[in-house]
Symmetry: C2
Subunit: 423 residues, 2 copies
């Protein structure tokens, strides 16, 4: 009778005690992701997930380029690749970043498994347990879980309609430095932020860079949505004006296809060198097949044409969501007006709790993400709506259902809502 036989009644006794690392106890399932299963119900219009639209995924073009890649580069793309990533793709990534004013060289770029891995590697390379990381409040939900998994102390800075409030950022840096725990970096999504859809104003960009420079704090600029702008021109990346002070995270997940899992990080060379070593011990290298597929897509199809189609698709859905919000939401509910990206951020009157309301919303046939998912604390009055995945008619139907849920939640008519607003 061998030890550990699954049939052994003593199995649990015989099992080794599981002594996890301290960080592992900080890893808890995200409330947000738990919701997605509920939101997947047939009768529910989901405005929760931030997935790109299926219509914006160039399946046919990718089928063609994968054909060519395997026919012409078969053995090499199926082999182990460079830990830093395909050299040709890294050159093309520099061209992509140039659209937002960034001047980068391929040796500053590391190709990653989506920008999520880039964020994880940056955190791994900079953060000791207990180190402070400063973020916008609210911010991207999985950034919070990545920082938590690395046992970072997360400090949120308030935003207004133009993005993070510069004085509040400066005060936070000063406070942390005063405590002898200066921020390791400032994590920001300055363009079409997740979850608010807000853009950091042009003047504020210079102000924020100057505050970070004076405080000696590195900026981690996460920019997955920048090229999905509804205005004529893309916004200038923070990295464009401070290459030595900014680590830039990019991704093809929103502009091409998440399933390829191709993102990148551009950093000052010293940092990139460490990130490459971290990537090597984390995965050896990213998939040569998907990297070459993206590279060939960029070189053989109309990237700009593809982006143009995606922009107008998302603009139409944004328009539908804003129109329906204006037409159906009760007084006292306010929302952001995104000029790109995937998200609208709602603020409800003070008495309502979007987490408590979620179950009733699902019952009412609509799903959203409660604001609490994007904060270390607070956010009960807020919720995130995404217009990227559902069709225009689904967007309209979902917003109508949500308006009904909020009205019902607020009780008889909008009376208490008006009171709440009056307060």
């Amino acid at each position: 009778m061998i030890a550990f036989q699954p049939t052994s009644p003593l199995e649990t006794v015989l099992s080794p005690p599981l002594r996890f690392a301290d960080r592992t106890y900080r890893m808890v399932p995200s409330e947000t992701r738990a919701l997605f299963s509920m939101a997947a119900r047939e009768d529910v219009v989901s405005l929760a997930g931030g997935m790109p639209s299926p219509e914006a995924l160039p399946a046919e073009a990718l089928r063609a380029v994968l054909q060519e890649v395997l026919a012409t580069e078969g053995p090499s793309v199926l082999q182990y690749g460079s830990a830093q990533g395909d050299p040709v793709l890294r050159e093309q990534i520099c061209e992509v970043m140039a659209a937002e004013g960034v001047t980068a060289s391929p040796d500053e770029v590391l190709v990653t498994v989506g920008s999520q891995q880039a964020l994880d590697l940056v955190t791994r390379v900079f953060v000791n347990p207990g180190d402070s990381v400063v973020t916008e409040g609210p911010t991207y939900v999985t950034a919070l879980s990545t920082f938590a998994a690395h046992q970072a102390r997360i400090v949120e800075v308030a935003m207004d309609r133009d993005g993070v409030i510069p004085q509040a950022l400066a005060d936070t840096f000063a406070l942390l430095a005063g405590e002898g725990r200066p921020a390791k970096f400032y994590y920001t999504v300055p363009t079409f932020q997740n979850p608010t859809g807000r853009v950091l104003g042009a003047d504020r960009r210079k102000e924020v860079l100057d505050i970070c420079r004076r405080a000696g704090v590195l900026v981690v600029e996460d920019n997955p949505y920048g090229l999905l702008h509804f205005g004529e021109q893309p916004h200038r990346a923070l990295c464009a004006d401070a290459p030595e002070g900014v680590v830039y995270l990019g991704s093809f997940s929103k502009t091409l296809a998440p399933g390829l899992r191709v993102g990148w990080v551009r950093a000052p060379r010293t940092v990139t060198g460490k990130l490459v070593l971290a990537a090597e011990s984390a995965m050896l290298s990213a998939s040569g097949l998907t990297q070459r597929a993206v590279s060939r897509f960029l070189s053989t199809t109309s990237w700009q044409g593809h982006l143009g189609v995606a922009r107008s698709l998302y603009r139409d859905r944004r328009d539908a969501m804003l129109a329906e919000l204006a037409a159906t939401m009760p007084d006292g509910v306010s929302w952001t007006v995104p000029d790109g990206g995937f998200f609208v951020w709602l603020t409800l009157p003070g008495e309502l709790d979007t987490r408590a309301m979620m179950a009733r919303a699902i019952g009412g046939g609509v799903a959203y993400v409660p604001g609490t998912g994007f904060h270390t604390r607070g956010g009960e009055r807020n919720l995130r709506l995404s217009y990227s995945y559902p069709s225009v008619s689904q967007v309209r139907e979902g917003v109508r259902r949500l308006s009904d849920v909020i009205r019902a939640e607020a009780g008889d008519g909008a009376v208490r809502l008006r009171e709440a607003v009056a307060r």
Copy 2:
């Protein structure tokens, strides 16, 4: 003039001080990988890298399955996927593991970016800085860098021809427990080990499992080569006889294609749950496209037929290497006789240093990996040869060149070699 302008002479002054995490200073370039650039020279026969043979990469079959996957599952495989991995692939992975006696359920399996990511996630979930990890000595080079990146204390246990020495393993566990720093886990490659090609004997497997059970130490079984056996039957996995005490790492990199970056980890459910959360914060999910490609390959082509072709290809190269070693190596040089996998491990007489010899070997037109790469210390007398990538004639030529280099290194004739052996 904006801060950080790359043109600014003050740029370095204006750059934020880079305060890396403590672990980052443990991340150093691997001596082994540095060699690969040299080994890539046209006139050098490389017996260094452990890449699969190009002839064993089913480029055409993968082209076909990728076509089908994108034609029939286009939008879904290009979207975000489950953090745990494709459910169908996880079922097929359980069937693959069954060949080595493992009874696993899909909910115990996490699909990863190669088994390297599986090892990184397991280390992340279990190891605090300073925690002890026990390994075979020598062991897989990138496992050492992953453990180092997580600031683990690496403790090697000696091997003989039948694998790790059980008593030495038991003594090591006792020593660490006595120091109040019990091993977090025992990392082992029991079948066709990298770098030695050795197999842990059947009786020793039970002995090792029993030692680990009594010491309460979790086993991390890394098994990328198990299905590339030259004998009739595969070896029974450690995990087959101790599912609650063993975390099993698997990979399609050696049996299908590294460029797909599809591997997995099978662990007790409690551990798998933590690994899924770690994977989510590390990359959200692995590529749905490459996962579905592997899944469809397994379901629509002859996996066994493919493995059979790969086995005979590698067996022929192994035979060529062993024959040439026997025909050309001077007295005093000994080597392992692998019954599967990719590697042969050489031991030279005491006066030779394989690291010092490397430059002259490159000059002599052959590359190998010095033994020092596979140890935290020591290994100067050893070197690893791989027969997986070069052709049979290249293998023979490479070994002939290496024999000449060793003879020259040993000085005039085999005199000093014989002396060395006599000592």
